[in-house]
Amino acid sequence: MKQLIIGVVMTISCYGYNQTCTYTFLGELSDFHDGSSIASATIYIKERDKYIVSDFDGKFKIENLCNGSLTLTISHVACETKTVSIDIKGDTSTSITMEHHIEELNEVSVKASMSRTETKTAQETVIKENVLKKYSSLSLGDALKEVSGVSSINTGNAIVKPMINGMHSSRLLILNNNVRLQDQEWGIEHAPNIDINSASQISVIKGSGALAYGGDAIGGVIVINPNRVILKDTLFGKTTLSGQTNGKGLSLSTSLNKYYENGWFANVQGSLRKNGDFNSPDYILSNTGLNSQGFTIRSGKKNFESGFEVFYSYFKNEIGILRASHIGNVQDLVDAINSQEPLFVQDFSYDINSPKQEVTHHLAKALFYKRFKNFGKLNVQYDYQNNQRFEFDVRIGDARNRPALDLNLQTHTVSSDVVLDSKSNYKVKLGLMGRYQNNFANPETGVRRLIPDYDKYDFGIYATTEHQLNDAVTLDGGLRYDFNRIDAKKFYRTSRWEERGYDIDFSDFVIVDLGTQLLTNPVFTYHNFSASTGIKYQINETSYIVGNYSLSSRPPNPSELFSDGLHHSASRVELGELRLNKEVSNRIGASYKYSDTNFNFNLEGFYNRIKDFMYQEPVGIEQTIRGAFPVWNFVQTDSDLYGLDLNTDYNISESLNISNKTSYIIGNDIEKDRPLISIPAFNTRNSLSYTNESWNKFSAALTSEWVFEQTRFPNNNFETFIAATDETVLVDVSTPPDAFNLFHFYSEATFKTSHNTSLNIALSVNNIFDTNYRAYLNRLRYFADDLGRNILLQLQFNY
């Protein structure tokens, strides 16, 4: 019976082949990149339900074919399985290309713990999703402190700016899904506009090794990537809900991801966060609440040969600034420093009043790529960003609800690169970037513009290469040129213009003379060259060393050029300097890394010499109707920074682990022979953790965060006359606060709720002993203690 059925099927099949089934098909398989033959590939002939194998030259032959279509499914080790349909018209021959570099397609089979690094020889650390989830209700700056050598410079506890090896703001590049963030990052009080919940992985690169992103990363590069695209029909998501006692905060974040085997994908993600006034151990930090909303949408199609992606992200932050930090003159500052408690403390509230910031950031991008045979891959990207920043001051009368600062920054960028990867041990990347930026400072504020209206044009061109010399040695290198032009329209008070001597050096810039003020049109052009080179040597299975050198240069930012006015919370007049030229950094770094199953050790050292380093220093006192203020100018000096970052962890037993992260950095002003300001003190973080996989992946960790007192600082203290007490006092703005040691606890467990859903519950306590402390790198340290104990409970539902 069985034979009969087979016989019938065979007959029908044969009949289908028609009378003239005598043609031959010759196929030839080759690699997409370098054209080499692919031998021993399996070819499945659908119409015949039969398998054949390609020969040594990648060729194969199918005989006795009739006219019509022929479907072949070709598979080979380390290649993407490919199905092709061939139209047979007589004897036919075709060459078929296969893709060898399957890892770039982000197959699901790739182990989930594998991390994608951005560079080969730079000092790069990757923070993965399972670590990032701890920071769901915090900020980017908080999460980055997971990396040894990364700290932050804060304004209160909601404005957290990352700092890499002592560098921050304009000296760091932040990339959100391959778009360089343009969000008035020059401001020390301007937190990066990134929703931490939209990141799936973050890379921190110390130094400017990643030239493709920019040539001005004197401090480093932070690369934030969303989820990888998976080529599989699947739908998954997660929802995170967390609550915390300090600030009585709640946050909610949710994401949903849909992928298709044919390459189409769509991700949506959104988050909300609300906090009231935070508290220090002894008092409420009045007006430190926070409201934050963000969402991202991403969709596209990813195939091997071509693909595209569209991405949009929205992020809005409303951040209250500690009310007690808003002061009017130096006497108020002296009162604040001398007072143990802030001079303005009210009952807990969710209200956010002035002073506050309201910042909205839109980011949209479109990316397209295509691969060319025997050549490489071309990427083309356009992105647009719109950053709207309002800052509200404590004002009187009708102006009470009007912002004191209203800046709108729009940026358009077109970028493109080609990756030439046809040789498996050699890769070259060439790229171009063009950018136009417009800043608009709204005059309706009724307050003189802090930053003027300007147009900025940037153009960059670069080439990077990567060469795998042999199994042990990888070399890389790159060159980049950037052109920057800033064209500003700024009003100067005539008195300031003359006091700066600009009437002599820059008289050409004046376009309108209004008597007491001048409208000027400063135009500056900068040419910047940057370069990097590095080597990675794999000593053996468990250890390697990395060495790299980078040259980077950064033109002055709008704040360094144009700042002009009284900075209230700092009680000083801050002045930009039109004569600044670019700063140039020469940095060398070396790392040693050892890792086996029980022990990891990573030591990174660097030396960064910066010529014409731009910074602010006090230069004198000016009298105003509010009293006398110190004047801080932007100046340039030669400086050097060097330090060591250490990261170790050791499994004492299967369930117990100890880890340590330590960093030490020194910064010097070489010309003045004194320490640089705002350099993080020696700090060390030690953890003891217990893990038990069989108890629902339970883990618990106790961490000590020990920050020493910074003993190296420049003395910028000054004297002022206090009328109330009829005496002259020394205003100590320089001395760093005492050392502190905080203890934190974190524990989590994951419960399976069904075949493919799970619930992760995390409980953590920060500052367990409610220790009073002030941090040197918190700009509000003169006014109040830092945060007291905070208990957080987080539920994460994965589905």
């Binding site: 001079l343 063009g434 950018r435 009724g446 153009f459 109707i625």
Partner: protein
Amino acid sequence: MKTQINNMKTFKFLFAYFLASTLLISCSNDDDNPDPVNEEEVITTVRLTLTGGGSTVVFQSQDLDGDGPDAPVVTMTGSITASTQYAGSVQFLNELESPAENITTEVLEEDDEHQVFYGFSGSAGSTVTYTDMDDDGNPIGVNVSFNSGVASTNNVLTVTLRHEPNKDAAGVSGGDISNAGGETDVAVTFSYDVN
């Protein structure tokens, strides 16, 4: 051979593409000039007028460039007679506007959030007592009574305007600034002799 031709085609395409993208980034420069900011709530001038003993004395501190480099210009007209009671009133002006904007009006509109303090040093022993009050019965300090004290030279008077002081703190309603808090909007000093 075929590969080479393909490569050439690819190169040509890329070259053309890069050229096009470079041209796209063209510069458009509009010549619109920004409007000057109409500075509000700036106090350029503090004027304290004392009337008593048949004469008028005016202390004035004027800083027309605001936070600019020029120091305030301090002037005094008239002379102060010893042991004389003067009726004093202080005026805050924004002279960047034309006509000058009287900021004192705004201070008085929000009188519960403002207080003017008077501090003295020198041997005259001059004193000030508040003669006005807000709705809560606390002093404002725009109108005061000034007692000149004894004849002496080089006395110093400091006039301070505080925004959002704590008027209920100890001594504040009596004119002691030590516990007042808030932020300083004006702090000017005048040197004077008592004849």
